[in-house]
Symmetry: C2
């Protein structure tokens, strides 16, 4: 028994090489860890509404891998029609109005809450929607902007950037930059924040890299939510949370396929597609949001660490039991209010100075 | 194909009940999620030294479940003898000296770095070691204190609290409170921080709950690392990271067994054993540390959320690919320096005012 107990050396918080001895593999033998099948109960310590979202079956279309921009757009339009039907009720619940428009030729939606407190009247948020660079065209991309406007009481401009087949890399980023530059003409960047989730979170980071390169002033804060920061399939949670995340499900699923179509042969490790590889020095204060079951948990925490290493004031929020982007699924879930409350508080602390 | 594609509704960031329709289970059908067996490669985006720690085989003693305090102490002493052999070299590397002593009858070690910068000379850190309330007796409990003193250039008092069979719940907490109160006689609490990992992280939180109850002034900051904040086996990562974490391995492993021996029949849901259930209002600023493979990832992020809900300034750090407490395994690993650097920076921002 005492020999067996020596395995507790793994807990010894010190002098590892000496303590572990032969238990540590050499560099040539970094073998994968075999994990047996398991059953995951629905977590107890979340709201009943969130429990139902966590208990939903895996996205049945997780492995639908369209190969062309045209196929993606057909599918995205069908999906968008259904999403759009749900938006009027949410806008009413959150007391928000939405107006389509353009800024320097790029399609946008102006999302305005009924009540804007005095301290928010000089503030402007820019929203970049998610959807693997291929989903949520038009009004269907505004849901997160509606939540941010409604919960945060900010005016939001949501960018309806070009997606395949209308545009390929870097069309989405180009459109986002056009809107950002247009906004700079009327708003002090210290009063602006940029936010988005998933591909939108990646676009937020890509915008900062591009703005640095172009010598633009950066916004006062950013909120990249569970950013698709590495589309090269590198990241521990692509494996640990495979088949655990009920939204994205797998690194070899629809979201990867959509991004490959958007990239159209461009190097996926380019920081303008995988911003975790970019130079984040000088980035504005950032709040990042993810969940313990998120396939992009590692994509998120790796960006957080890179930001911290670059000396950026970066705050990480990880929600119990949530898969990819579930903090923004339903405005009626208490954890959704909590997540947007955190982002609002972060913007309030960092904007305007 | 279009019907299959409807599964992408899971990405629709809006109006869930309407969008999901029948896909959402009702409250009576929160079925567990079945996850198939898988292989986890060693993550690419960590240091080579950390890769070797991540690639180490599962702790072979993870399911050694001693039933008495005497058995635990025999095993802990054997382990401690090996750990202690590694400490002189680490103290030399980090330029730290360690002196045993007592404070109001409680055994301590005073851990002093060779160089203390002027701004740290009025500061004092209190360290509560980990080990499931049964491991790391005596000097073997000082390794994390040596790292904190060495990397942070703070004077540290490490508490050698009573463990089974010498003492059972709440002996460890009683000893920690005795030292804290003794320190209050000479040091302004705004110049003090309390830190620890695993059971030590839980003890940090338990100390704050007890200090509030006793009307004591609280320290200027705390650093509960991957705290054993819930010993009732509730928490999503007890399942998602089962057999993934190569240190603790399972919620039904040695650490749980040790805690049950320490609790000796006391209600495991008492906030003084499972502090996630405590009232955290008024807690000092807190920095929490964990990893994506940590069995206590949920124990950590749930505390982070409870702190934030209680209005506490709380910062979360999650390291790529790390299992339980691996940020404190080896002072020569770059991620270890990074983790203690974050904690040092946090203390520097919050102590003294």
């Amino acid at each position: 028994m005492m020999r067996k107990f020596a395995g507790l050396r793994l807990l010894a918080c010190t002098a590892l090489a000496a303590a572990y001895g032969a238990a540590l593999p050499d560099d040539s033998a970094l073998a994968p860890l075999q994990v047996p099948a398991k059953n995951l109960p629905v977590p107890a310590d979340v709201s009943p509404e969130l429990q139902r979202i966590i208990a939903a079956p895996r996205n049945p279309a997780w492995n639908v891998l369209w190969k062309t921009g045209e196929e993606w757009r057909t599918a995205a339009n069908a999906r968008a029609a259904k999403t759009i039907q749900t938006l009027p009720a949410m806008r009413r619940r959150l007391h928000v109005t939405v107006q389509p428009g353009t800024m320097d030729g790029v399609r946008i939606y102006v999302v305005t809450p009924d009540v804007i407190p005095p301290e928010h009247r000089d503030k402007l948020l820019i929203h970049v929607h998610g959807g693997c660079y291929v989903l949520f065209p038009g009004e269907s991309g505004t849901s997160e902007a509606i939540m941010m406007a409604g919960f945060g009481h900010f005016k939001v401009i949501s960018i309806d950037y070009r997606m395949p087949p209308e545009g390929y890399f870097p069309a989405a980023l180009d459109d986002a930059m056009t809107v950002y530059k247009a906004a700079l003409k009327t708003t002090d960047p210290k009063n602006m924040a940029v936010f988005g989730t998933s591909a939108g979170g990646a676009l937020v980071l890509e915008m900062m890299l591009r703005a640095k390169r172009e010598g633009l002033r950066l916004p006062g804060a950013i909120a990249p939510g569970t950013p698709m920061s590495d589309v090269t399939k590198s990241g521990d949670s692509f494996y640990t949370n495979e088949m655990v995340d009920n939204v994205l499900v797998s690194r070899n699923g629809f979201c990867d396929a959509g991004t490959v179509v958007y990239a159209r042969g461009h190097d996926l490790k380019d920081p303008l597609l995988s911003p975790v590889y970019g130079d984040m020095r000088g980035f504005p204060p950032a709040i990042l949001t993810t969940g313990t079951r998120d396939l992009l948990l590692s994509n998120t925490v790796r960006v957080h660490r890179k930001l911290r290493e670059a000396g950026v004031d970066a705050q990480l929020e990880v929600y119990e039991g949530q898969s990819h982007a579930q903090y923004a699924f339903d405005d009626r879930v208490s954890e959704t209010k909590e997540a947007f409350g955190e982002i609002t508080g972060f913007f309030d602390r960092h904007l305007g100075h």
